[in-house]
């Protein structure tokens, strides 16, 4: 295992210490782990918090700052954080206007954030959990834990963060976040595996000429393996999985202020004429130069399908340690989303 680390058990802590030193505009708490804006709570503003396993940097900690997140809770590498982290973080950043948890749809994240929401609500703090489940590689929600939360998370943190900054109240933030999730779809491709420090060896083995299609962000295997193809072919495949994805329905559980309530949600497919934000992401080990080859083809496929890319984001924003590969996210962009996308942001990992 070749990594810039000391002892495997200190990886997350020491990386947080590095972030704290490099970014005095963040406050980093170690027991339990969370980071938040040093100027939090921001008076009158809804607090937006996300979190998840470490190993996806800059997400989420790198998106803490004005215009994006108020706080982030990092778990161990690829392991969801625990409720006490979200609880302490929420208490540190809540200004009284309530807390929105942006939760990627992984069983662990969902359950830990649910437990956290109960704790936070128990203290009389207004709280909402909104799921991101945008990974079209997962086809059904009946026989699985549902679509994983991937690239759309980054876009949601930008858009909802800007909304909170503009004065949206908690319910408006939650509605917007739900809309962004329903408007966003992603698909990922791995060229190499990645190594969890504590495990010491790659999570899966991939042949010299193989790629893994339809991956999540934890080095888990995808839907299928195939020989590596040209970037045009792989991009076209990924883009079509997203653009041709039919309506997707599932039940999500949201906190209604008193208790958990099931909600039926259906994401409509993309339609000709849609404006989209295109996000081409590196899984960590793929350099930005190669992402532009993906973007080139993605633009062509979108045009051919009648979608217009009106904004884009190209770079490593939601990663799987040092994995080589890419993911594509398309987010249907209405005027509200576009305006918030263009709003200023000032975080270690995203500046506008």
């Amino acid at each position: 295992m070749k990594k810039l680390i000391n002892a495997v058990e200190d990886v997350v802590k020491e990386q947080l210490e590095g972030m704290a030193l490099a970014h005095p505009e963040l406050k980093v708490n170690y027991e339990p782990y969370y980071m938040c804006r040093a100027d939090a709570p921001v008076k009158g503003k809804v607090a937006v918090i996300s979190g998840g396993g470490s190993g996806h940097e800059p997400m989420h900690g790198g998106f803490v700052g004005k215009g994006m997140l108020d706080g982030a809770c990092p778990g161990e590498v690829f392991t969801s954080p625990t409720p006490d982290q979200m609880y302490e973080c929420a208490k540190a950043v809540d200004s009284g206007a309530g807390v929105l948890f942006i939760v990627k749809n992984y069983t662990g994240d969902v359950m830990n954030f649910e437990a956290a929401a109960e704790l936070v609500a128990g203290e009389g703090v207004k709280v909402q959990n909104i799921l991101i489940d945008d990974d079209v590689a997962v086809k059904d929600s009946l026989y699985t834990a549902g679509r994983r939360g991937v690239g759309t998370t980054v876009l949601a943190e930008k858009v909802v963060g800007a909304a909170a900054e503009e004065g949206y109240d908690l319910e408006q933030c939650a509605d917007l976040c739900r809309k962004v999730n329903q408007y966003g779809r992603s698909f990922g491709v791995a060229l190499t595996s990645c190594t969890v420090p504590a495990a010491g060896k790659p999570t899966f083995e991939l042949g010299e000429d193989e790629v893994e299609m339809g991956i999540g962000i934890h080095g888990e295997p995808g839907t299928h393996r195939m020989p590596i193809k040209s970037v045009d072919e792989m991009t076209q495949y990924a883009a079509e999985q997203i653009i041709d994805d039919p309506a997707y329905s599932r039940t999500v559980r949201e906190w209604d202020g008193e208790q958990w309530a099931d909600k039926e949600l259906t994401d409509e497919p993309f339609a000709k004429g849609d404006k989209v934000i295109a996000f081409v992401n590196s899984m960590g080990g793929t350099p930005v130069s190669e992402l532009y080859a993906v973007y080139r083809k993605l633009d062509e496929v979108c045009r051919a399908k009648g979608l217009t890319i009106v904004r884009n984001l190209v770079g490593p924003y939601i990663t799987s340690l040092e994995m080589q590969g890419f993911s594509i996210t398309l987010l249907k962009a209405d005027d509200e989303i576009l305006k918030l996308w263009d709003a200023p942001a000032s975080t270690p990992g995203f500046v506008r």
Binding site: G108, T203, P221
Partner: protein, 210 residues
Amino acid sequence: MSMNKAQLVTWLGKLNDVYAEKKEYLTELDAAIGDADHGINMNRGFGKVMEKLPTVEDKDIGTILKTVGMTLMSSVGGASGPLYGTFWMKGGMLLAGKDELAADDFVQFIEAGVGGILQRGRPELGDKTMYDLWAPVLEAMKDEAGNASEVIAVVDAALPVAEKALADTIPLQAKKGRASYLGERSIGHQDPGATSSYYMIETLRDVLAG
């Protein structure tokens, strides 16, 4: 015979040993159909339980169970963290003030715990999760307790059921948790969470047998 506090404390200590010993094995099971962290998670969690235990050892069983639950909840992470956290916490809430458990108390603890797992994870039978172990185990325990039996008899009755239920997770296709993303590829592997749950019963049996 009922189960006393010393036995509970011994159980927890032995569980810590077991999860240390089985860390790699549980992680390998999880590598096959999940994300290769279940052994690491359980080991970290029970390590923390050992750190916390001395501060509550002289309290009542309810407090001890609640502390175990809260500690697991805030140290295991992943899916199993809130599930086991809830499992032990629910038991603790139920048994507040008790210093020993009759067979009935014990079965109520397990029933409350399994109820917690159901509430949190909403697993269904056959989803290939720890619930596929706890559901038949709880039935067997209830049946045995109905005979006005002792705790050790209740656990004895549950052990072979647990063993079978564990093996029965192998042919299942996962429909909850990370393993569900593998679809049919999850078939043929033993569920890591059911395995760590099995150790809880097996270890308790050893403790009670002395």
